[in-house]
């Protein structure tokens, strides 16, 4: 027992890295598909899904893309699932970028989705539009209800028929890995638009108070939120649709179990060592 205790105390950190690495990589290897399991959606994520479900064909959704490739792992799967859902519902999607490093990532993602056979009918300027970039500190002007989208962005397309300003937007979702969307939550009081959010796990707890007051209609938190959304889309439209978030959830679960295990073992060793020392 004493020997084990000593060994555990001096365990090389690289062994811990290796175990965590294996717990992440093994569930996503080919042949380990049986470890992929869909997660149960929370009411916060379902609230976003329901908001899109009640929209009719031709209604407008505004996506505020405020993340760059550093948050891609958590937010891109959510964007993909959300965009696909909007396209399946045939609602118009306006994508606006609040960070320059995210523009090409966004455009590429949309291009990748619309290149698939299922969404090959989607046309830019008719079903969705990339509205480019407005500097993050100046974008509050878009919340001026009288600013004409078409005029501001100098874009043309059938998509602008019936949608001129923010008043004509039926739902807005923000994707970000920072505190940036607090502004949008605050502005929501003034302009009364419906606003949901998809954030990285780090920012999730900070936005919870806004859910209780109804300032946010829903929230998808991190990779888990994206996996939940994929599950909702899968259940309703596309059986066995597993996006990268659902694939990643098994890795996330096993890596957390390993981390829990190390925390528990570390605490046991700590207390046993403390008792031994008296």
């Amino acid at each position: 027992m004493k020997k084990i205790l000593e060994k555990l105390k001096k365990i090389d950190r690289r062994i811990i890295y290796l175990v965590v690495f294996l717990s992440i990589i093994i569930p996503i290897l080919p042949g380990f598909d049986f470890l992929i399991f869909p997660v149960a959606p929370t009411k916060e994520t379902k609230a976003i899904f329901d908001e899109i479900e009640i929209l009719n064909e031709g209604d407008a959704v505004f996506i505020d893309w405020a993340f760059d490739p550093s948050s891609k792992a958590e937010l891109l799967p959510m964007f993909e699932a959300f965009f696909k859902h909007c396209m399946k519902k045939k609602v118009k999607v306006f994508i606006y970028y609040a960070t320059i490093n995210g523009i090409n990532l966004g455009k590429e993602s949309v291009k990748k989705i619309t290149a698939t056979e299922e969404f090959s009918w989607c046309r830019e300027g008719i079903h969705y539009i990339n509205m480019e970039y407005v500097p993050i500190a100046a974008d509050i002007r878009i919340f001026n209800m009288d600013v004409d989208f078409k005029g501001t962005y100098k874009k043309e397309g059938k998509i602008f028929e019936g949608v001129e300003t923010l008043r004509d937007i039926d739902y807005m979702i923000g994707l970000s890995g920072s505190a940036y969307h607090f502004t949008h939550v605050d502005m929501q009081i003034r302009f009364n638009y419906k606003f949901g959010i998809a954030v990285t796990g780090v920012m999730g707890p900070d936005f919870v108070p806004y859910l209780q007051t109804g300032q946010l209609t829903g929230m998808a938190n991190g990779l888990r939120g994206a996996a939940e959304y994929e599950r909702l889309v899968s259940d309703k439209y596309e059986k066995n649709y597993y996006g990268s978030a659902t694939k990643g959830m098994s890795s996330l679960t096993f890596s957390h179990l390993v981390i829990f295990g190390f925390v528990i073992v570390g605490n046991i060793v700590y207390y046993m060592d403390k008792r031994k020392r008296g």
């Binding site: 950190r13 690289r14 990589i25 500097p135 500190a137 003034r190 007051t213 991190g222 990268s244």
Partner: protein, 251 residues
């Protein structure tokens, strides 16, 4: 063949776009074993590419559409309000005075304008937000289930207790001490939730890289083996140093 086509052929071919991300990922991950030159190369490439990419995008999406184009349009058809383009430009230029020790105060005009504008815009909204959050707490408590009602007690008492922890006008003894103690527990629960979410976020970042490695198995295997051989050779023959204590190695 123009330069753009040549560059596209070099950087957008299948070999480049599959091998480089895998190699760069494993180069950076080699730090987990120990700091080594390959990691340094990867780190510097990352910083260089990020800055270069940022500059190009800034030109394409900020300077060109928001300054060059409007100024260019001024010469085609002039309107009186177009002068504001020049005013904003001059205001932005004041930032460069930060480089001078004697004239650094000129940049304060920019900051003064920005702070004034933002404060004027946000203060009323922030107050509205506080009122909205407060009014939501002022609901009848007997609505819904016992769990729903108890939630409000936790929120109100938890907020009060956490605030009492920061009340230093009286010593934390007696009732105040006990309430402040509850405040610490409330804050620790929040920090725990935030930390748990952060761990989830960091693991998610690695999952993204892991998915890339799994998507290109051959490249991953070759790069991993090559980098392991490199690390063995480097630490065996080139870099001989005393064993670093575990708690010092990652400072």
């Amino acid at each position: 063949m123009d330069l753009k086509a040549v560059l596209d052929n070099i950087f957008l071919n299948d070999i480049f776009v599959t091998w480089i991300p895998v190699l760069a990922t494993i180069m950076i991950m080699s730090f987990l074993y120990r700091d080594n030159p390959l990691y340094k190369i990867g780190e510097n490439i990352f910083i260089g590419v990020s800055l270069g990419y940022g500059w190009i995008l800034s030109w394409e999406y900020i300077i060109h559409p928001f300054f060059i184009m409007p100024v260019n349009d001024m010469f085609v058809e002039f309107h009186f309000w177009d002068i504001t383009n020049i005013l904003w430009f001059l205001l932005a230029l004041t930032m460069f005075f930060r480089f001078s020790r004697k004239k650094a105060w000129v940049a304060n005009y920019y900051f003064g304008f920005m702070f004034g504008y933002m404060a004027g815009y946000y203060i009323p909204i922030a107050i509205q937000n506080i009122l909205r959050q407060s009014t939501d707490l002022m609901k009848p408590m007997n609505q819904g289930s016992f769990f729903e009602s108890s939630k409000w007690i936790v929120i109100i008492f938890g907020t009060f207790a956490a605030l009492m922890y920061f009340f230093f006008s009286k010593p934390h003894k007696g009732v105040l001490g006990k309430v402040a103690r509850v405040g610490i527990v409330v804050m620790m629960i929040f920090f725990g939730a935030a930390f748990g979410s952060t761990v989830m976020g960091r693991v998610s970042l690695f999952i993204d890289r892991a998915l890339l490695l799994v998507d290109f198995p051959m490249q991953s295997l070759v790069c991993t083996v090559a980098i392991i051989i490199y690390l063995i050779i480097y630490f065996k023959f080139f870099k001989k140093e005393e064993k670093i204590a575990d708690d010092e190695s990652f400072v």
